[in-house]
């Protein structure tokens, strides 16, 4: 029987939530790695029992954990993330040069074709890859080295590489995004890179049309149309129909176009979801109402989805890696909040119910659809 496994990373450990295809009764296991920050965990599309998790604390640094049994047991694998060559400097908040320093892994993206290959997006921003199931990591240094690296500057959360999208067409195309440098694309499996920020406009930087410096929060793609990208920028929801070569704003009638998450329906490539957040200084939903907005037109026209979500006195945030969709016939949508709730919808957002209410602050949510 089909089912789903929801992988939740929190400020104080990881949790695994499982259900059958009806998605109305849930088993909650965890915390795994109690007391550690779990920025992200994700399963391999090739082998759903192969999971990778990013585990860290300010005290003891970064660990990477691997599971071969769907999260029941874990083993630490390699945690040496050494920048290639002399790492040089990027810009600090005040514009002065600052040495590149590894801090943590924000995002793990398992390969679409090989369970032993996994990519890691790290702070300070760089992309690493392991081809031995996480035992060793090598930087794809062409990203930092493509030329604009010394001009990259951290966002408020640090200079993190938080989004990795692998083009499923097999052409070696990879998209990544960095706060606050912007989006980048490789067409040769990560060897060389180019910024893809044309059309983004950011009032926070002196040259609003600059090649880099944009605070991209998240990018999403539907696997059937890998050249169509949707972006939640610091402010503005954007789309690209040419693999990031150009972007158009599709914020439309959203109550605010600030936010962190964005995702695409599993079966409808023009149906996208965002959670509007009031502003960059007030990281909670407008009017204290937690509303997910859905567009069935690829942007511009949005409808609020509220059934089952708190519509008063709600002041949580939904962080950039904390929304995901399953691929069951009736697409499920999931998101986690900084208040520790994980909400699930088994009908593409029409109605919602919490799976759990009182976890630590949720940093990431991923979903595996199990057959």
């Amino acid at each position: 029987m089909s089912g789903v496994r929801v992988l939740v990373g929190t400020r104080k450990g990881a949790f695994v939530l499982t259900s059958d295809g009806r998605r109305d009764k849930w088993d909650v296991s965890g915390p795994y790695f109690g007391g550690w920050e779990i920025y992200h965990l994700k399963g391999s599309p090739v082998d759903p029992n192969r999971l990778y998790a990013s585990q860290s604390t300010s005290w003891f640094g970064q660990l990477v954990q691997r599971s071969n049994d769907g999260g029941k047991t874990w083993e630490p694998v390699g945690n040496k993330f050494a920048y290639d060559g002399v790492p040089g400097t990027h810009q600090w908040y005040d514009g002065t040069p600052h040495p590149w320093e590894f801090k943590r892994v924000w995002h793990l993206e398992p390969s679409l074709t090989d369970a032993d290959t996994v990519y890691a997006g790290v702070e300070d921003a760089a992309l690493f890859r392991s081809t031995d199931a996480g035992q060793t990591w090598q930087e794809l240094a062409g990203l930092r080295g493509h030329g604009s690296g010394p001009h990259w500057q951290p966002g408020a959360g640090g200079m993190c590489l938080h989004t990795i999208l692998l083009d499923p067409s097999g052409a070696g195309r990879i998209f990544i995004a960095i706060s606050a440098a912007g989006a980048f694309r490789s067409d040769d499996s990560g060897v060389t890179w180019q910024p893809i920020n044309r059309g983004l406009r950011s009032q926070q930087i002196p040259d609003q049309d600059a090649e880099v410096g944009h605070c991209v929060h998240r990018i999403a793609m539907h696997r059937s149309r890998p050249s169509v990208l949707f972006m939640q920028k610091h402010w503005d929801v954007m789309r690209s129909d040419d693999g990031g070569d150009s972007w158009q704003e599709v914020s439309g009638n959203l109550p605010t176009d600030f936010g962190f998450v964005i995702d695409v329906h599993a079966h409808e490539p023009e149906t996208i979801f965002v959670v509007p957040i009031k502003s960059d200084s007030e990281h909670f939903p407008p009017e204290g109402k937690l509303r997910l907005y859905r567009s069935r037109t690829g942007g511009n026209e949005w409808e609020p989805l509220t059934k089952g979500l708190p519509q008063s006195d709600c002041y949580v945030n939904v962080l950039r890696d904390a929304m995901a969709v399953d691929s069951l016939d009736q697409c499920g949508v999931y998101f986690g909040t900084t208040g520790g709730q994980v909400y699930a919808s088994a009908d593409a957002g029409d109605s919602w119910a919490p799976i759990v209410r009182d976890l630590p602050a949720v940093l990431s949510v991923e979903v595996q659809t199990l057959q």
Partner: protein
């Protein structure tokens, strides 16, 4: 034989309870003790000192014999009471974060 007490998170990670006892080659220093510790428990590599620079992580402290040894040279001899096993080397996660 050197006795080492790990912070709780790292005891869980290393699957140990209580003190760790290590045989250390040559003079007992922070570096030689950490080398022996990481050789016995490879999962601790990178948690106490940086992989590349080998510098102590900022929130990791080394205490022994009622003294803070955190700022001693990694190659300075540890107190004789630690070297002899009479006293443990305490590896402590600093109180930070409120």
């Amino acid at each position: 034989m050197i006795r080492v007490e790990l912070p709780a998170h790292l005891r869980i990670l290393a699957h140990v309870a209580g003190e760790v006892q290590l045989d250390v080659e040559g003079q007992a220093t922070q570096r030689s003790v950490l080398d022996a510790l990481e050789a016995r428990y490879p999962m601790l590599r990178g948690t106490l000192r940086d992989h590349v620079t080998e510098q102590r992580r900022p929130f990791v402290r080394f205490f022994a014999c009622s003294e803070d040894l955190s700022h001693e040279s990694p190659d300075a001899p540890l107190p004789e009471a630690v070297a002899s096993g009479a006293e443990p080397l305490l590896i402590v996660g600093a109180i930070a974060g409120g």
